[in-house]
């Protein structure tokens, strides 16, 4: 059995089943599959069986032609699913079977227009904002005795985050739609929600790192976790609902974003250097009560590092 479909922007708008060949396709009333479009000839194409039994799509128009993909063809063998263009009308021809029900896979769902999401977009907004609240409350500044407007600050921050979230999600949605992706607000918000929770998680990891790793490693972890999350987030966003899913494409995006971030960071540290600001991280991670801090060096060893700093300053004078 053959299924003939008319597509508009990749979406099936009409479908008809045929049990036998030949099938004449065209604008004329005498055709089996009628396409009312000025670019389609009266008898535009025919589907027939050749002597060997294979199905063939044959051009009989003469005027606007038959296209398989981007190239014009006189005839095309049918196997599986074929997309063809008659004048300006895009059709799909598929040999279908009524034999057994085929189980669907996840990939099959990718192109479907009406997907079911586990949560509505409101749910994802709530999850993303909850992550922000947790992140804020994990930060020691929040619990500082000098932070007297704790709750008001939190409410204000959450409200502004809601506005920002909707604003940026809409922009992302617009950009992705312009790139031809079949995305919906829920997709974008889901991604925001997932990555919003990765930030407090990364914070937790860096707290642990402070106690388990050396000073340098912990500081490296702290300074790299946020940019790497940004890269992962943007790369994921850039490849959202892209069909087919492509690892190389995602990898290239990640590389490009990483390059941009590195460029920004280098420019910043160069500017800081030019302005004579010290390039050192002064944030001193204080211990949580009851936990031991890592090993401390002797004053003599510290003195060696100070002397090295002095030498660096001196060397730059020469």
């Amino acid at each position: 059995m053959l299924a003939l479909r008319v597509l508009r922007e990749d979406v099936t708008v009409r479908e008809q089943l045929f049990k036998s060949t030949p099938i004449r396709i065209g604008r004329s009333e005498g055709c089996d599959f009628i396409l009312i479009d000025p670019s389609v000839s009266r008898y535009h194409a025919t589907i027939e069986r050749d002597p060997s039994g294979a199905l063939l799509l044959v051009d009989s128009s003469g005027t606007n032609g038959l296209y398989a993909g981007t190239k014009r063809v006189a005839s095309e063998t049918l196997s599986g699913r074929l997309r063809a263009r008659l004048g300006l009308v895009e059709i799909e021809i598929e040999e279908v079977s009524t034999a057994a029900t085929q189980p669907i896979t996840f990939e099959d769902l990718q192109g479907l227009d009406h997907r079911r999401m586990p949560l509505s977009w409101v749910g994802y907004i709530v999850i993303a904002l909850a992550a922000l609240v947790v992140e804020t409350m994990l930060a020691p500044e929040f619990w500082s005795p000098w932070n007297s407007q704790r709750l008001v600050g939190l409410v204000w921050q959450t409200a502004s985050a809601l506005v920002a979230l909707l604003f940026f999600a809409s922009i992302m949605l617009g950009v992705l739609k312009a790139a031809g992706r079949k995305v919906r607000m829920t997709d974008v918000l889901k991604l925001f929600a997932i990555f919003a929770w990765l930030r407090p998680l990364a914070m937790g990891v860096s707290f642990l790192g402070y106690y388990l790793l050396s000073e340098g490693m912990a500081s490296l972890l702290r300074s790299w976790s946020a940019p790497l999350l940004t890269v992962a987030f943007l790369a994921q966003l850039a490849t959202l609902r892209r069909s087919p899913p492509n690892r190389t494409f995602r990898g290239l995006w990640a590389m490009a974003i990483l390059l941009v971030l590195t460029g920004v960071q280098l420019t910043r540290s160069y500017a800081a250097h030019r302005m004579g600001q010290p390039e050192v991280d002064h944030t001193m991670q204080a211990p949580l009560p009851g936990l031991k801090t890592g090993p401390a060096v002797s004053f003599e060893d510290y003195g060696v590092a100070v002397e090295a700093a002095g030498k660096r300053s001196q060397d730059q004078v020469k």
Partner: protein, 284 residues
């Protein structure tokens, strides 16, 4: 020509540079003029007045003048002046270091200075000190401060103060939170640590270079950050700023910040160690 009468009150005890203490008005323009005793002998030269008051004045004792006159006359060329400047920086640094190192070695713990919950040996008399205590009632925090300056330190035009030492000990005690209490304090530490940004290509000073680590001195563990700025024309001399935060107790925090200007690296490190060994937590 006019003469101004006044009383000589002996020598200043603060600082490591000898000064005559005078009760008499001095005004700008009079610097370098002679100070005569009752027998019309030159005992010194006018140098400075107490800030915002003109009747407490200071003079350089004649001995310093005699030493200066005994030196061969200075050529007025740039290299010769630079050489003299380096000699003076060197001489002042040596003198200051020796005086402070000696005083810090012999200083006894009793009676101890109490700065909030921290204690320190009394600092050498050369330092002029002040203290302050601030209660933040709503936050449940008490901040105690103790700051000291080495008085009468010389300064060189453009380069700034040399052989100068500043010290500050701060103690914070929180009645409530400890996590957030420490969360705030790094910002505070950073405000101590900040090396004033200098324009690129400063003609006299190199760029600041910094380092930080956890450091154990005696019983205490400190988080230390240090920035060093090299003097361009005087190799081996630096401006060194060091801030140390003690992390040993959950609801108390201690800061010690030190600033050494125009010092050799080794002298500054030795004095830092001696000063920080002076400071410890008080009894609970």
């Amino acid at each position: 020509m006019s003469l101004i009468e006044g009383n000589a009150n002996g020598f200043a005890t603060k600082g490591v540079v000898p000064r005559l203490l005078l009760s008499m008005p001095l005004n700008s323009g009079m610097s370098g003029g002679p100070i005569l005793n009752a027998r019309d002998q030159v005992v010194g030269t006018n140098v400075s007045v107490q800030w915002l008051s003109n009747s407490l004045s200071f003079g350089v004792p004649a001995q310093a003048l005699r030493d200066l006159l005994a030196r061969p006359p200075l050529e007025v060329t740039k290299p010769a002046l630079q050489l003299e400047m380096n000699r003076q920086i060197d001489a002042f640094e040596k003198k200051t270091f020796e005086a402070l190192a000696r005083a810090l070695q012999t200083g006894s713990l009793e009676p101890a200075l109490v700065i909030g919950g921290a204690r320190s040996k009394p600092l050498p008399e050369a330092f002029a000190c002040w203290d302050n205590r601030q209660e933040f009632e709503r936050e449940g925090v008490v901040k105690s401060q103790y700051g000291c300056d080495l008085q009468f330190t010389p300064a060189i035009e453009d380069v700034g103060p040399i052989a100068s030492v500043q010290l500050q000990i701060e103690h914070f005690a929180s009645a409530r939170s400890s996590y957030g209490f420490y969360g705030y304090l790094p910002f505070h530490a950073a405000s101590h640590q900040e090396v004033p940004p200098r324009a690129a290509g400063d003609p006299h000073l190199g760029p600041p270079e910094c380092t930080s680590n956890k450091v154990r001195v005696g019983e205490e563990v400190w988080k230390m950050s240090t920035c060093a700025v090299a003097f361009k024309a005087s190799p081996g001399f630096f401006d060194i700023d060091l801030v140390a935060t003690s992390l040993s107790r959950p609801k108390e925090s201690m800061f010690v910040s030190m600033s050494f200007k125009g010092f050799r690296m080794k002298s500054a490190l030795d004095l830092s160690k001696a000063l920080i060994q002076n400071v410890s937590w008080g009894e609970k």
